[in-house]
Amino acid sequence: MDNVISLDGILGLGELKAPDTAPPASAASGCSSSSCGSSDGPADMAPEVWEKVKNHPCYSEEAHHYFARMHVAVAPACNIQCNYCNRKYDCSNESRPGVVSEKLTPDQAIRKILAVAKEIPQLSVIGIAGPGDSLAAGGRNTFATFEQLQKKAPDLKLCLSTNGLALPDHVERIAQYNIDHVTITINMVDPEVGQHIYPWIFHGHRRWTGLDAAKILHERQMLGLEMLTARGILVKVNSVMIPGINDEHLLEVNRQVKARGAFLHNIMPLISDPAHGTQFGLTGQRGPTAQELKVVQDACEGGAKLMRHCRQCRADAVGLLGEDRGAEFTIDRIEAMGEVDYDDEARRSYREHVEAERAGRAVSKAAAKAEVQDSVGAQAAPILIAVATKGGERINEHFGHAREFQIYEVGPQGATFVGHRRVDQYCEGGSGDEDALDGVLAAINDCTAVLVAKIGGCPSKSLQAAGIEPVDRFAFEYIEESALAYFKDYAGRLSRGAVSVRAGQDAVIRTGALTALRA
């Protein structure tokens, strides 16, 4: 167990505590977790669905604290063009979908997976997400990879993402390889909207443009979605939010994909920069702000369940969400390792450890929520708080070392995860960088407080000057319980007039790189 713990940032200094006393068996049923509603915990889904997603970092918000995924870039070909994608751009310092630093053959992919699985026991999912479409070019590389993998590491779950154009042709094979999860990128359910997103598609041996292209793509996406859900394969829908083009339309997308059985809907902000050379980047199409994104996500509550912890990973990302270790596993290094044996012992014991840890959580979250409801009542308005964490559902990152902050909305109804905000590290080698600090302030400007494991005097003062309270008294504690305890204290001060409500702020979504490793 020791080597499991030391292998990753999840568990470090003082962070690993014995799980709380085991809860009664009924603890996980009913609405005992404050995650009810927007996030996906065991409490608000069918047992068979929970069984499929509980160790999937992308499909389960809870799992993303504990489990890692790996994308293998074996599918470079694409059969459609999207205005937010540039096929010619390819750079290791970019962190966004469709970008990889090296393409793999299926054989290389298998070697890499086995090497990574040995190094990272948190690994639970192998996905194929491009850099093109996983089902373009007949899906040959995708299925060749899955076929071998199923034999060599049967405990790893398989998933793929696709634009859906070729999906109806491949549902049979997807089922055959036990692929439990499929992600379809659906940005519209109206071809009038779609023609502004897709300049062309290649279907039926010809290139289609304009309204015809969008109509075919839409019909194929809906057919593929229905075929998958009819077979009990979980489907997540990704949508790119493009202000002025499909922002309001996404509510209709949410309704329609839910009606067809999509299990989770992930609304992501458009990543747009002229330097990326995408059509949208060149025409100056902007991405949404944090507030705009949240408004659309909130409006979709009640429809298909929303996913909010997406990191818009590279198509060759490795490791926990938010911490890309892809650069450690280049082809050269994998080749140098020689033959890698298959061994799932470390992964099995890690999963047992997580099971034990999880058992105690439901009870302690429910207790924290009940305490807030008792003492605060329902009057206080919810607030946003930022949390510096490197996983394990704990506040375990130094303010200056954080590459991203997780944002929680906390109020009398409990603490729910809203999203993450990527930032430059403030602290590079000991001294703070003022520009980076401004970036952090812009990214968490809508928050009332920031919960950290540790923070220095200067950034602390700057945060206070900006009206954001730095809080380090919950260092290494669980996030949700701490957020509720903070809220209880905050509501008390609010009612005494010691603090005032900080509202009406917006924050900047930063879409830069998240590839460098922790020093």
């Binding site: 694409c78 059969n79 373009a136 290649f202």
Partner: protein, 63 residues
């Protein structure tokens, strides 16, 4: 009567190789190339050359 691939624009994605009805496209030295002897510009097979129609980088052009 043949197409070629502009190597400078090719992203080596391989979409063309899968679509070519004549198996005229192969991967050589980091890029895809079209064998001009085998290429028929898809006449008799399809309305348009398949490599050009599927190429996401628009780099398949008449030789």
């Amino acid at each position: 009567m043949a197409y070629k691939i502009k190597a400078s624009d090719c992203t080596a994605c391989g979409a063309c190789e899968a679509e070519c009805p004549n198996i005229a496209i192969s991967f050589k030295k980091g890029t895809y190339v079209i064998d001009p002897v085998k290429c028929t510009e898809c006449q008799g097979h399809f309305d348009a050359p398949q490599c050009a129609a599927v190429c996401p980088a628009d780099c398949c052009v008449p030789a």
